[in-house]
């Protein structure tokens, strides 16, 4: 997959943006379905929320929050690159976006596991 010509930071930033985008697009219908349970079956919604107490579900949520934050910050980098005056520091910006996404998803995870 990571063939030699792809082994550089901005290609990896591209792949992260693509993978996170597709993952979020697949997650959204499930997300919407679960929220609509508030309308159709409120008890089922609470049963579902009870599942989120499981540590593995929390870890999955952490992953989803990371993908969302990475997609947003990575996308902002791309728009800044395309619409603001050119900067040569794209690798730094891409790394900053990933670090920011990690910080956001860690805050979420700490909130989720604290009592």
């Amino acid at each position: 997959m990571i063939r030699p010509h792809r082994n550089h930071p901005l290609w990896l930033a591209f792949m992260l943006h693509r993978v996170s985008g597709v993952a979020l697009a697949l997650f959204l219908p499930i997300h919407f379905y679960v929220l609509a349970l508030a309308l159709t079956d409120p008890a089922a919604l609470n049963d579902f929320f009870a599942l989120t107490e499981n540590i593995w579900v929390k870890i999955t949520e952490f992953g989803l929050v990371f993908l969302l934050a990475a997609h947003m910050l990575g996308g902002l980098r791309l728009m800044a690159m395309e619409w603001l005056p050119w900067s040569d520091r794209q690798k730094t910006f891409a790394a900053t976006a990933v670090a920011g996404a990690f910080a956001i998803s860690c805050s979420f995870f700490l909130s989720a596991v604290s009592l």
Partner: protein
Amino acid sequence: MLTTRLYMLQRLTALIMAPLVLGHLAVMIYAVQGGLDAAEILGRTQGSVLWMLFYGAFVAAVATHAAIGVRVVAFETFGLSKSVLTPLTWLIFILLLSLGLRAVYAVTLSGVLG
């Protein structure tokens, strides 16, 4: 497989969503404390025009953004022709929009109207 029109739609919906995602992330970090609770979440959102507009705009933007994004990935990965791509793009848009608006209705208006 992006023309200027689709590109602009993709970027403009992204710009609209940037503050909405930040808000959504903040709410998630806040709401998850002490575990998710349906009554707590619905108590915040039911009957709130502000949350309805917030999530309504979010759903409309994300349905557009995701449909165009998946279109590009489907084209570059599977080499689908334009006659397949255009209906696929619309299908994803309509699916996400209808499911999303239904969810927004469920958490903001159903308690008031229903």
